[in-house]
């Protein structure tokens, strides 16, 4: 089958959906792989390596004959409109926000599989691109906080006096949050964290950090995710978090609820309660922000506090982010492939949940 990997066109996107390693893997599954010229350049994978792995280097028109398109971001509308019938597109799709695109796929009788929709079951873990990219985001969030903070993370006792360790607060201890905790701890910071899920307390402690227990009830949603907060609880939570935020040198926020705007965890007053020279890294900035003042891709200075809003954070580490993403996608393709052909088995819960456009139908 003809697999095509187009270059990403979105601004700030440096990842690529297929790396030379996974070219090899896809070919072993019986597919032919075409990669758009320069698609891997920004991620550190030059065309030469793809060729060595057995891919053809093509230009974007190859999309016309594609049977399987692998991408990171949703395809631009104009590309969707050139797909041939029966073609399958695998990428992040943000289906809730891209109704027009889904319609375009349906109109072309193309299928589309949204990686956001993969169920979080054990079998699907190796295809879980949300997890793998959240891993990258969490790691980078901690590094950025360390780099932006005008102080040391670790405790240092030196001839010029003792430098106390930085206090880092991580809000939201999902995949990204846990990785941020681990990374900040590695650098020597004193880390505490908060999350609404019941399991989070033990998970946070298993990384050697302190869990902040606000005494509020936990919010467990489906599939291991959190539920949305009521406004009342949100207010109470912010109130209780305020002293913790105010005492921190760096705050990293990672809270999310699938399919919703990110919960607001830190409002303006809380920022103003912080000391000057402190830093907030909000990796949920793109999906509405956990911090009232954060703007994706921007550094806001507010009363001496630096608020760093994340924008496509995994893209900041494109080489490994692409490697992980590409492997997720390749594992998914493996699941869908049979003897070199695609077989969309709707009785498989993974396919059923994530296939958002199929046979001319938008399935959500």
């Amino acid at each position: 089958m003809n697999v095509v990997v187009p270059s990403e066109t979105a601004e700030y996107e440096r990842r690529v959906a297929c790396v030379p390693d996974t070219v090899t893997k896809l070919r072993a599954l019986g597919h032919t792989v075409s990669v758009q010229r320069g698609a891997g350049d920004a991620a550190g994978y030059p065309d030469r390596l793809y060729e060595e792995a057995g891919a053809r280097i093509v230009d974007r028109d190859a999309l016309d004959d594609a049977e399987l398109v692998l991408a990171v971001q949703p395809l631009p509308l104009e590309d969707a409109r050139r797909l041939r019938a029966g073609c399958l597109v695998i990428s992040f799709l943000q289906p809730a926000e891209n109704a027009e695109l889904l319609e375009a796929f349906a109109a072309r009788k193309a299928s589309a599989l949204s990686l956001e929709r993969l169920p979080r079951i054990s079998r699907a873990q190796s295809m879980d691109a949300l997890s793998s990219q959240a891993l990258v985001a969490g790691y980078r969030a901690a590094l950025i906080a360390a780099e932006k903070l005008p102080r040391f993370f670790p405790l240092l006792m030196t001839a010029a006096g003792t430098v106390p360790p930085a206090k880092v607060l991580v809000l939201g201890a999902g995949v990204a949050g846990l990785q941020a905790i681990a990374t900040a701890r590695r650098l020597g910071a004193v880390v505490s964290a908060y999350d609404v899920r019941a399991a989070a307390a033990e998970e946070v402690r298993s990384l050697g950090a302190t869990f902040i227990d606000l005494g509020l009830e936990t919010l467990e949603g489906a599939g291991g995710y959190a539920r949305e907060m009521t406004e009342e609880r949100a207010i109470r939570q912010r109130e209780l978090l305020t002293p913790h935020v105010a005492a921190s040198d760096a705050v990293i926020t990672t809270a999310a609820v699938p399919g919703r705007r990110a919960p607001l965890l830190v409002d303006r007053a809380m920022v103003e309660a912080m000391r000057p020279g402190t830093v907030i890294v909000d990796i949920a900035a793109e999906s509405g922000g956990n911090v009232e003042l954060s703007r994706p891709g921007e550094e806001i200075h507010h009363q001496g506090v630096l608020i760093w809003g994340g924008r496509n954070m995994p893209s900041g580490m494109p080489y490994d982010a692409s490697r992980l993403y590409a492997r997720n996608v390749a594992n998914l393709v493996e699941l869908l492939s049979k003897d070199g052909e695609l077989k969309l088995d709707l009785s498989d819960e993974i396919v059923a949940a994530s296939l958002v456009v199929h046979e001319g139908q938008v399935r959500i």
């Binding site: 079951i121 054990s122 079998r123 873990q125 190796s126 997890s131 793998s132 891993l135 995949v175 846990l178 990785q179 681990a182 590695r186 399991a199 033990e202 998970e203 402690r205 298993s206 990384l207 050697g208």
Partner: protein, 458 residues
Amino acid sequence: MSNGVLFAYFVTALCFILALKGLSSPKYARYGNLVGAFGAALAVVVTLTLHGLGHRIPIIVAIVIGTLIAVPAARLVKMTAIPQMVAMFNGVGGAAAALVSLDEYVKQHSVDSGGVAAAVVFSAIVGSVSFTGSLVTFAKLQGIMTGRPVVLPGARVFTPVLALASVGLGIAGIATSSVVLVVVCAITALALGVFFVLPVGGADVPVVISLLNAFTGLTVAASGYVLNNTLLIVAGTLVGASGTLLTQLMARAMGRPLTGILFGAFTGPTTAGSTAELATDRAVRSANAEDIAILLAYARKVAIVPGYGLAVAQAQHTVRELADLLEARGVQVFYAIHPVAGRMPGHMNVLLAEANVPYEQLKEMDAANPEFSSTDVAVVVGANDVVNPAARDLPGSPIYGMPILNVDEAANVVFLKRSLRPGFAGIDNALLYHPKTTLLFGDAKESLSKLVAAVKNL
């Protein structure tokens, strides 16, 4: 007896002490056993060449017969059936000691001192109990009868009555110089032996074997007293003392008081086995740190499989200590890291890096799996789902299709966890109940500390 013979007996006694000493260290155990055998052989040969010994030929024939029965039995028995074999040998030893005392009593008909009389009765009763008791343990272990505690109706009253009766008969026999009464006393004691062991549950039987072994030792000492033979006294006492201590050690190792083992069936319902407290019908095998330490220390290749429990227990430094210790002993150690072990990607890496585990010792799943078949022991530290064979073998299981670490291919699997509770996925793990699996219950950090201490003590 000549001084030469007595001296030979002295040497034998010395050999026996050295034998026990050797047997209590893994390094010298085998050697100790040989020294003991040498001592025993010496004593027998010297005795056989005693000037004035009658019936020499029949005796030698009897010895040959005994040997011809015992050696093949001991050589051919399956490893798993060794405990019942030991029980059997112990039983016949007890019988022999009782016979020797009785015989001497028959011969002298009446005895001169109260001490000797008491010794005769003692060895008749205790030897008989040891004999039939051992037979019952044999039957239990061999599966000839049920391994569950058997409490006959009225046994609670009957058993003490029987004990009193046999003592009473013995005293009466001595008082009246009656051979018949003493024989009847011995026969009563035979019944007592049966009733003594019946209520003991299968899992506790080895402790009882050890106790009966100590009994036999004391019987032999008593016989020695009757025969005025220092060797028998010393050897019997040695075995009696060390056997008693050993019985206690064994009971303690199982975490159960001796009285509970012996009489538990009368008092409560929890005698079925030492794992009765676990809320499961299937049996698991749990062991203590010393056993597992030996398993590890004498292995060639050990895999450490960390999971979320390692992180919860924050046992990363301790696990490394154990691995280092084993490596220092020449054991090859590697860490098998499952891609989703823990609760975040790379969780185990963060942990183990903190403990400075060299990256070269970490094997990712694909590299680790081919290793397990040549691995002697896989130590699963607070992991569960990532080694659950259901993911491989049980379509329909929620984790079916997830690749796992095939620890079940290792020769032995040791789980360090706190209970039989499942992990993240909430599903039971059949590997916990597998015959090649041993569990060490407790917080991973504590268990690992115990293992470290135990390995150091080897």
